[in-house]
């Protein structure tokens, strides 16, 4: 009895020692040389493995960055400029700083704005719902409200507002990874520049129908009237397919478009004061009057010149 126990311990010990030697030898012989910077970069990255950069996780990102030797094709939207600077320091290269982005929900079809015409009774998924029919309102383009974006968000930045039936973005948590953008079958969510101190202007509608149809479907729809585009002095607004779009790189946040929009489809967020529509409208009217006067004066001047040259 004692003998067999001793034998067992002895055999296992010897076996263990021999195998550890084999493993040691194999580890030395077949060692894969890997750039240590890959590990270093991976540690620097946020480690969310969200895929927001376009790579299959943080390791793949680090691998491709080291292989390329620069960061032209790599940008981690979650870590932002700060993390990217650290990564650049490891690689010893420059980065292009990008403006911090945030997800913006471009639909304002709340229960009050957009009357429900039917009740959906299928699987709770926007993707399924979008494949079945146009939705439970007259709007073919708006939010379906089943929360695919909320399910897609790994950072807990999205939630459904039960009062409006629309998703709400928590700016402090949103990392602009773009998962919600891809999850939305109606392509309502867009990544936009966060703007100075979180101030930004955007058109909260993607309805491509003509004015009357869009208006009938939703009280807050963009009707494509182009009033905003005509008012904008910075050429930031374009109207295509009956829906306006504000280019956030050109927008100077003057909020004039927001003031003139007849349906309230243009939203401004992050501004310290609420918009005084009448004051802004008066300002625009004054400017327009001045411009008209100047144009008249210029016309008169050219006429005088003409007369002079004729005379």
């Amino acid at each position: 009895m004692t003998n067999s126990i001793i034998w067992t311990i002895a055999i296992l010990t010897v076996l263990g020692l021999v195998l550890s030697l084999v493993l040691f030898w194999v580890a030395r012989k077949f060692k894969v040389e890997e750039d240590p910077r890959i590990d270093e970069i991976e540690k620097t990255l946020p480690g969310a493995n969200c895929g927001g950069c376009g790579f299959a996780g943080c390791r793949a990102f680090a691998d491709s960055a080291v292989k390329a030797g620069n960061l032209d094709a790599n940008y981690c939207p979650v870590g932002g400029n700060e993390v990217m600077k650290k990564v650049a320091a490891i690689l010893g290269c420059e980065i292009k700083e990008a403006a911090p982005m945030v997800a913006v929900v471009r639909c304002n079809g709340t229960c009050a704005n957009r009357p429900r015409t039917n009740q959906y009774d299928g699987a709770l998924s926007c993707k399924v719902k979008a494949s079945l029919y146009s939705g439970d309102t007259m709007c073919l383009y708006g939010c379906l409200g089943c929360g695919d974006c909320v399910a897609a968000c790994q950072f807990g930045a999205l939630s459904m507002d039960s009062a409006t039936g629309l998703p709400v973005v928590d700016e402090s948590k949103c990392t602009a990874c773009g998962k919600c953008v891809a999850a939305c079958p109606k392509r309502i969510i867009e990544l936009r520049a966060k703007g100075p101190r979180g101030m930004r202007e955007y058109v909260s509608c993607v309805n491509k129908d003509k004015g009357p149809a869009a208006r009938k479907a939703c009280a807050a729809a963009c009707i494509g009237c182009s009033l905003c585009a005509k008012t904008c002095r910075h050429g930031a607004i374009t109207v295509t397919d009956n829906v306006a779009y504000i280019d956030f790189e050109k927008c100077k946040l003057c909020r004039e478009c927001e003031a003139v929009c007849p349906t309230g489809a243009i939203h401004g967020t992050g501004f310290p004061k609420p918009l005084d529509k009448e004051a802004v409208k008066a300002r625009i009217a004054e400017r327009k009057a001045k411009e008209a006067e100047a144009a008249k004066a210029a016309a008169a001047a050219t006429e005088v010149k003409k007369e002079e040259s004729n005379g």
């Binding site: 009774d121 998924s125 029919y133 146009s134 073919l140």
Partner: protein
């Protein structure tokens, strides 16, 4: 004689053929009809009329937009008022030709007399051309252009023409009514299709819950005396009328995954299609009318109808003719309760394939979903031998390769899994998405080759 049925899966819902004794009534003409350019499987038809044109009933107003597409005819006489997008049944915009009805004048060359023409034309190409020019599409649900289906690719030969009179969907009675009231025409239509397919035998399959129809068709087949046509009684079981299920039941052959019925020598046509073929070939009458059932479990007895409608009549207008939407209707469905689509836009126009307006009551509302307990009822019910619970799980996990391995693309969307699920899990909703995903992958792979 033994009743035929398919080999695996299936369910037995109550057949609820409430409108079975209602004779087919002809609807009056509305003020306007809206003719969709997308009434068939395949490419959208291209309108060839202009706003302000006068058209006669049966006149071609749109040409096929591709090889798999169909002609569209004006269902009424009148003036074209607009050619514009209009929401269809599901609320999506789709091109429609709006025609204001003026009188009821038919285009020349169309025989509107009720006399039965039994002599079948000899020329196969003439028959196929007539079917094509009259815009005949499969009326069993998929609306596949009939002239394409009746013209198998070279090297493939039809061993059997199956005429589908199963009407296994609960509530629907339009096929049953035409089997009773237009029996001879349907049998002649079958003989015409037999001729086109090279004289193969024809089986008319009818479910056992329609004994009057079986008797009537048997009598008609005996009276008309075309060779090689026989009537078979099918068991009452859903989805007996599914193309692959019917081939299994009648010919005991299985269509392989990704294959077509013609691969096993079968061509399946609905009885309503047979009637349309008869009218097209013998009477030169285009497909501009069809029979639709107005029924439902919340309709009072006596307000059910089987209507002969002109294509393009708005659903809401037909409903108004039948007495309006009943109280207690929770869902309005076009098609049967198993595979039909809930109507999102009640003003949508009827199309060639419209088969019903179905009002369903409170009991049809979906209950709250609860977790899957792996009872396997969905796998027992699936007539294609799939495992719906697994497919749903794989879809949620986003595993496209495993979905293809588990044959998500073979799903026929019959809804048996969802019907049999005690946990009320929306299985089909998810599998449909999975199927679309796998089909996309297969198509992309084939395009690469």
């Amino acid at each position: 004689m033994a009743k035929l049925t398919f080999s695996i899966g299936g369910i037995h819902p109550a057949d609820s053929k409430l409108a079975r004794d209602c004779k087919i009534e002809t609807l009056p003409l509305p003020e306007k009809v809206y003719v969709s350019m997308f009434q068939h499987l395949g490419a959208q038809a291209k309108p060839i009329v202009a706003v302000g044109d006068s058209v006669k009933a049966g006149q071609i107003i749109a040409e096929p937009g591709g090889f798999i597409s169909a002609y569209v005819h004006s269902p009424v006489s009148g003036v074209v008022r607009s050619i514009a997008p209009r929401p269809d049944l599901a609320g999506f915009n789709c091109m429609h030709v709006e025609i204001e009805v003026q009188g009821d004048e038919w285009a020349e060359g169309i025989d509107l007399s009720p006399e039965l023409v039994t002599a079948i034309p000899e020329d196969r190409d003439f028959i196929l051309d007539r079917i094509k020019m009259c815009g005949v599409v499969g009326l069993g649900g998929a609306t596949f252009p009939t002239h394409v289906k009746l013209n198998p690719p070279p090297g493939k030969k039809a061993d059997c023409l199956i005429l589908n009179g199963a009407e296994c969907e609960p509530f629907l009675t339009s096929d049953f009514r035409i089997l009773l009231e237009r029996t001879d025409e349907i049998v002649v239509g079958a003989a015409i299709m037999q001729k086109v397919l090279g004289g193969c035998p024809c089986v008319i399959g009818i479910e056992e819950n329609k004994p009057e129809a079986i008797e009537a068709v048997r009598a008609s087949v005996g009276r008309l005396g075309y060779p090689g046509i026989r009537v078979e009684t099918l068991k009452k079981r859903y989805p007996q009328g599914g193309e692959k299920q019917l081939i299994d039941a009648v010919m005991h052959r299985q269509v392989r995954s990704g294959g077509l019925p013609i691969d096993v020598g079968a061509v399946v046509q609905n009885v309503a299609t047979s009637l349309a073929v008869y009218e097209a070939v013998q009477k030169n009458k285009p497909l501009v009318t069809n029979v639709l059932t107005v029924t439902g479990d919340c309709l009072p007895a006596g307000s059910m109808h089987n209507y002969l409608f002109r294509i393009g009549m708005p659903l809401s207008w037909i409903a108004a003719q039948a007495g309006g939407v009943p109280e207690g209707a929770v869902k309005i469905v076009s098609g049967g309760p198993m595979m039909g689509k809930a109507i999102a836009n009640f003003d949508a126009a009827t199309v060639k394939g419209s088969s019903s307006i179905l009002y369903l009551g409170e009991s049809t509302r979906r209950g709250a979903e609860s977790p899957c307990i792996r009872c396997g009822r969905c796998a027992d019910a699936c007539p294609m031998g799939l495992e719906p619970f697994l497919l749903k799980k794989l879809y949620k996990a986003g595993d496209a390769a495993a979905l293809e391995q588990n044959a998500a693309q073979d799903c026929i969307e019959c809804g048996c899994c969802q019907y049999s699920c005690p946990a009320r899990i929306p299985l089909l909703d998810n599998i449909r998405m999975a199927k679309a995903q796998v089909m996309g992958i297969i198509r992309a792979r084939n395009a690469k080759k």
